[in-house]
């Protein structure tokens, strides 16, 4: 007996829509089983995971803080993935964007004016885009695998940041600890509604980016070009679209947005550069891009759900005593079920009864 996947001639539009929700439902069921196996009350644990973080204003702010970089990066990645370009290095573009944007407050702390913040944001976008252009140019010119080059550049960026905050950019008044000076008021991304919590404008940028990219992808010729080149490069060529230009375009968009996410995180949430500024946002965003079905609006929802699992993980750790590892298992399960559901939309399972064991002779002529 073996299992075969057979491509379906047509995929169901209904189930394509439903699949993320089915996946989420399956995750909840599997999660409940997991909690039960750990000896916890599954109802209580799920409550702390998915409901508790939502019923206080400050916690909603925290949700926005956590979701902002994830959404910003993931909507950019959706352009890349849609056009069949595999940018795995958003984490590095996030870091370089954060560093480029930090040049002003770190190196010129006396330059204090309202233009500092807009310049920082622009530098952040430029830094991320420039860093993303490296794997893009390598792919367009030399046909290198962008998966490998973009991924490896993540480590370069991490070590570069590490070196800078321990060396040239170290806070002169910081007892030699590895961090830059804290950003002054003009270099700090303001909070949206300071009276109630610390969500900053990065979240607004994320929503704007999602809306704009949704419009571009669904309503413009550029969006058509992106999708066409992704689905069928040959057809795209006949239509006069250039694959090389698309590689560059998609990497610049996703790199720029990752860079913007980086500078927003540093300026809005952290307030200085440190050796580690991201707990893997650039990689988690890949999950979110797919969970949101590469649709910018879906990605907003997916980003919020995944951010919720981080917050809920903490709530459950404090209240129910669940290990923080469980939150990661949870995220893994969501991705697993989403991919599984998608697979079953495109393919159906056929069980094939294995014929009886063949004799030696039958194998000899292979």
């Amino acid at each position: 007996m073996r299992i075969e996947l057979v491509k379906r001639p047509q995929r169901s539009a209904l189930f394509s829509m439903l699949s993320p929700f089915i996946a989420l439902g399956l995750t909840l069921v599997a999660g409940a089983a997991l909690f039960l196996a750990l000896g916890k009350n599954p109802g209580e644990a799920l409550y702390y995971y998915f409901v508790d973080p939502l019923h206080e204003t400050w916690s909603l702010h925290e949700l926005a803080v956590k979701a902002a970089p994830l959404i910003l990066i993931a909507v950019g990645l959706s352009v890349c993935f849609r056009s069949n370009n595999w940018n795995i290095g958003a984490e590095g573009q996030f870091i370089i964007g954060a560093m480029a944007g930090s040049i002003l407050p770190v190196m010129f702390p006396d330059f204090q004016s309202w233009v500092v913040l807009p310049l920082m944001l622009l530098l952040g976008v430029a830094g991320g885009a420039a860093y993303a252009s490296i794997p893009a140019v390598l792919k367009a010119r030399f046909n290198t695998s962008e998966i490998l080059t973009s991924l490896m550049l993540v480590y370069v960026a991490q070590l570069f940041l590490d070196w800078m905050v321990r060396g040239p950019w170290r806070n002169p008044a910081g007892f030699n600890f590895p961090e830059t000076r804290t950003f002054h008021a003009f270099a700090t991304l303001p909070e949206i509604w300071p009276a109630s919590g610390r969500a900053h404008w990065g979240f607004i940028f994320a929503l704007l980016a999602a809306l704009v990219l949704w419009f571009v992808m669904t309503r413009t010729l550029k969006g058509f070009e992106i999708r066409l080149l992704g689905q069928s490069p040959r057809a795209g060529r006949f239509a006069g679209f250039s694959r090389e230009k698309m590689v560059l375009f998609s990497f610049l968009v996703s790199g720029g947005l990752a860079g913007l996410a980086g500078i927003c995180e540093v300026s809005g949430a952290i307030g200085q550069l440190r050796p580690i500024i991201s707990p893997g946002y650039g990689f988690t965003a890949i999950i979110i891009a797919f969970l949101g079905r590469l649709n910018p609006l879906g990605i907003v929802a997916a980003g919020l759900v995944l951010a919720l699992t981080y917050l809920g993980g903490e709530a459950a750790q404090i209240s129910v005593g669940l290990s923080d590892k469980v939150a990661r298992v949870f995220q893994g399960m969501i991705l697993f079920f989403v991919l599984a559901c998608d697979t079953l939309i495109h393919y159906r399972i056929r069980l094939v009864a294995e014929p009886a064991v063949r004799g030696e002779g039958a194998r000899a002529d292979v």
């Binding site: 009350n41 109802g43 209580e44 799920l46 409550y47 702390y48 409901v51 019923h55 206080e56 400050w58 916690s59 925290e62 803080v65 956590k66 590490d162 321990r166 060396g167 007892f175 030699n176 600890f177 590895p178 804290t182 610390r198 995180e265 949430a269 952290i270 307030g271 200085q272 440190r274 050796p275 580690i276 500024i277 991201s278 707990p279 981080y310 917050l311 903490e314 709530a315 750790q317 404090i318 209240s319 290990s323 923080d324």
Partner: protein, 356 residues
Amino acid sequence: MKRQMLALAASAFLALPGAALAQDKTKACFIYVGPIGDFGWSYQHHQGVLQLEEELGDTVETAYLESVPEGADAERAIERFARSGCDIIFTTSFGYMDPTNKVAGRFPDVKFEHATGYKREHPNVSTYNSRFYEGRYVQGVIAASLSKAGVAGYIASFPIPEVVMGINAFMLGAQSVNPDFKVKIVWANTWFDPGKEADAAKALIDQGVDIITQHTDSTAPMQVAAERGIKAFGQASDMIEFGPETQLTSIVDDWGPYYIRRVKAVQDGTWEQSDVWGGFAEGHVVMAPYANMPDEVKALAEETEEKIRSGEFHPFTGPINRQDGTPWLAAGEVADDATLLGMNFYVEGIDDQLPN
């Protein structure tokens, strides 16, 4: 109203959370940078918490969050604790310094204790740390007494003052026995990475060191040393079970006494802002039982430890020159705490460049 309904709905559906807290309990909350199972830094903080629970029994309730990344997540974690009714919050890693101070400003009634930092921007923030260099000096004395090669291997994490201070103290202790002692340093650039730490230990042993000490948190170097049949010092916790024939001693961080003292102060209403840097004398730093060494070395180690404990001797007492030979401390001069806490230079005799 909405919240009530939500809570009602939730409890109806999920038969829920009976988190009715007894009001007279003091709630002490802890944030760890690593997992409590690291057998190093976070493990030892958690051991301190267990001591606290044992000592104060029913009058205290504790909660913790482990593996909280330093950065934007830390502020949320601290704020969550502050909102969940904690009376005192201990943030146990340097990177929590600014988030701790930020949240403290918003919750003036909650006490905050930040380990290893120097910022106390609000009256409800204290800082605490341990003088691990006292233990490192004793280790240096032992290493130089035992090493046949006259070279020890040092697995260091990051070139921050705490670590540089430790290397210097180790070297000064070793030089007090053997002025020509050498130390080989490997920068692992991690606090906890068993694979990297093991590789560093192997590289050092291949270069001929016959004693290893570490300023990283995993037990991997101890295990490698045990396999290769050389001696080693543990870090943060007593690692004797990972090298019964190998561990000479270990610098054990004992946070229990401090946690008990501070939580009691909250209960008595006597808590005040403070900056505590405790060593042998305060019970913050404890040497694991001296083992796998001849009696005379053990006696020398115990004598050194006792001299430091009693205040008769300070590991950083002149004459001490900097690495380049320029004088740092004159004969009899003792380093002040501010210099130690910002230490970014080696003492004479260390053959290594500080990564910069």
